[in-house]
């Protein structure tokens, strides 16, 4: 028993462990207890119709929304929360900031800092959060911009770039932090259709590199190809989950079947 066969896969450590996240806005309960464990190198696609709570779930992980209940652990480190006036609040904002710097997020609306050049967008957090010196931050930024194919835009401002280019810069900004887990919140939903693929290609490359990623998306083809695990949320609960090809071919839930037939038209 103790000595498993030589062919037994070594246990891959869990990178992000999220347990029973609950969140209400007013009387509307958006998340009713959602859990997820992503091992290192996992690419988890989170699907669901609009209003199913998938973006809120992602935002609860890095505490852009404060969950009403549940636990988030990054590499075993629990984000400490405490009660105040019946609400859950972070016990230590310094810890939250530190965890956030290890969890990069890419937003639907890119959210580049408009008053900074592309290079400054990618160096700012490296310098002021990670404490890197300017020279190594610039080197890192240039490497990341080259990786996503926008190195020639370093002196431009975000407003001068197309949506697809801006989103690739946002991915470079996230990558420059050397994150342990990357969170993508509908990264292609605000893009013109012809610009979607340039962003998806970058994300496919990241998945192939073995990055740990959580991706809220509507891109079913991409999710099937790139994801190692898929979660379908419905009305604040995990309605179906499993390896993408399996559950897309054989959904366990009627809701998911309907969702798939609606989105694969």
């Amino acid at each position: 028993m103790a000595g498993d066969g030589p062919s037994a896969p070594r246990e891959i450590p869990v990178a992000l462990d999220v347990r029973s996240i609950r969140k209400s806005f007013g009387s509307h309960e958006v998340l009713k207890g959602i859990s997820l464990a992503a091992r290192e190198h996992d690419v988890v696609a989170i699907l669901g119709s609009s209003g199913s709570g998938k973006s809120t779930f992602l935002r609860c992980i890095n505490l852009l929304e404060t969950p009403d209940g549940g636990e988030v652990r990054l590499k075993g480190e629990l984000i400490r929360m405490r009660q105040r006036g019946g609400m859950l609040v972070p016990a230590d904002m310094k810890q939250v900031d530190r965890i956030r710097s290890r969890l990069s997020m890419v937003f639907q609306q890119f959210n580049l800092w408009q008053h900074m050049t592309i290079l400054e967008n990618v160096t700012a957090a490296q310098i002021h959060v990670l404490g890197r010196d300017r020279k190594s931050a610039v080197e890192k930024a240039e490497a990341m911009l080259a990786k996503v194919g926008v190195a020639d835009k370093r002196g431009h401002y975000p407003g001068q770039l197309s949506g697809g280019q801006q989103q690739r810069v946002a991915i470079a900004r996230a990558l420059a932090m050397d994150p342990e887990v990357m969170l993508f919140d509908e990264p292609t939903s605000a893009l013109d259709p012809e610009l979607v693929n340039e962003v998806l290609k970058v994300m496919r490359d990241l998945a192939a590199e073995g990055r740990t990623m959580l991706i809220v998306t509507h891109e079913m083809g991409f999710a099937r190809e790139a994801a190692s695990h898929m979660l379908f949320l419905h009305q604040g609960l995990v309605e179906d989950e499993g390896p993408p090809r399996e559950i897309m071919a054989n959904p366990n839930s009627e809701r998911f079947r309907q969702f798939l037939s609606g989105s694969l038209k």
Partner: protein
């Protein structure tokens, strides 16, 4: 025309020193006012109730009463309090110049803080979230993203505030200060040529306004390139 040149020859130096004093009042109170306005704006947005109430009361008082009343309250009013008359600050506080600076600073700080508050509130939510999501503390996010972004958003409105401040300095003449308006009044009563005198004062105020406008245009070109370049 001859009379006009005569008047300029006679009172030119008074106008010159009056203009210098006006510029001093504007520059000093604008800088002090801006320095006060940022913490005031933050206090106005604070969830700390005492801070919020004090800053709101301040803002309502200075925006709700005429500037002339504030000049009189500070210049004539402060001397009524024995503890102020006996304090070591009295030699300063009884000076009209100091009272004018204090009044203009407090007044412009109240208006500027509203402009700054509006600027901070119009920084796109997503850019602030992006800053926090990288792990920036609230302070760092303010320093790198929120305040610089608000600064460029408020430049046009802020130039208005400085122009109004310039015109407000003319009221300092009522507390014996011989700035541009005070100098003009003296010249007008000495020469019995109010039209020429006040026309000249008007022209100088106009030129100062143009200077403020071009300063802000320069600032906008310098700091808002990202907006004009955007497609």
């Amino acid at each position: 025309m001859d009379a006009f040149l005569e008047m300029v020859r006679e009172y030119g130096p008074d106008f010159f020193w009056g203009t210098v004093l006006t510029i001093q009042l504007v520059v000093i109170s604008a800088l002090l006012g801006a320095a006060m306005a940022i913490p005031l704006a933050l206090a106005r947005m604070s969830r700390n109730l005492p801070l919020y109430w004090i800053s709101s009361a301040y803002s309502i008082f200075f925006r709700g009463t005429p500037l002339l009343v504030q000049f009189f309250l500070i210049y004539y009013g402060l001397g009524q309090f024995a503890f102020i008359r006996t304090s070591f600050l009295w030699p300063f506080l009884r000076e009209a110049y100091v009272c004018a600076i204090i009044t203009l600073t407090l007044n412009t700080a109240a208006y500027s803080s509203e402009v700054i508050r509006g600027g901070i509130l119009s920084v796109p939510r997503g850019e602030i979230e992006a800053a926090r999501a990288t792990g920036m503390s609230a302070f760092t996010a303010y320093r790198l993203v929120i305040l610089p972004r608000a600064f460029s958003l408020i430049l046009p409105a802020y130039s208005n505030e400085i122009i109004i401040l310039l015109k407000g300095t003319s009221l300092a003449s009522t507390i014996t200060l011989l700035e541009l308006m005070g100098a003009s009044q003296l010249a007008a009563s000495a020469t019995y040529q109010p039209i020429q005198v006040f026309a000249l004062a008007g022209i100088i105020y106009y030129c100062l306004t143009m200077a403020i406008t071009s300063l802000f245009h320069w600032l906008e070109r310098r700091y808002n390139r990202y907006m004009t370049l955007a497609r």
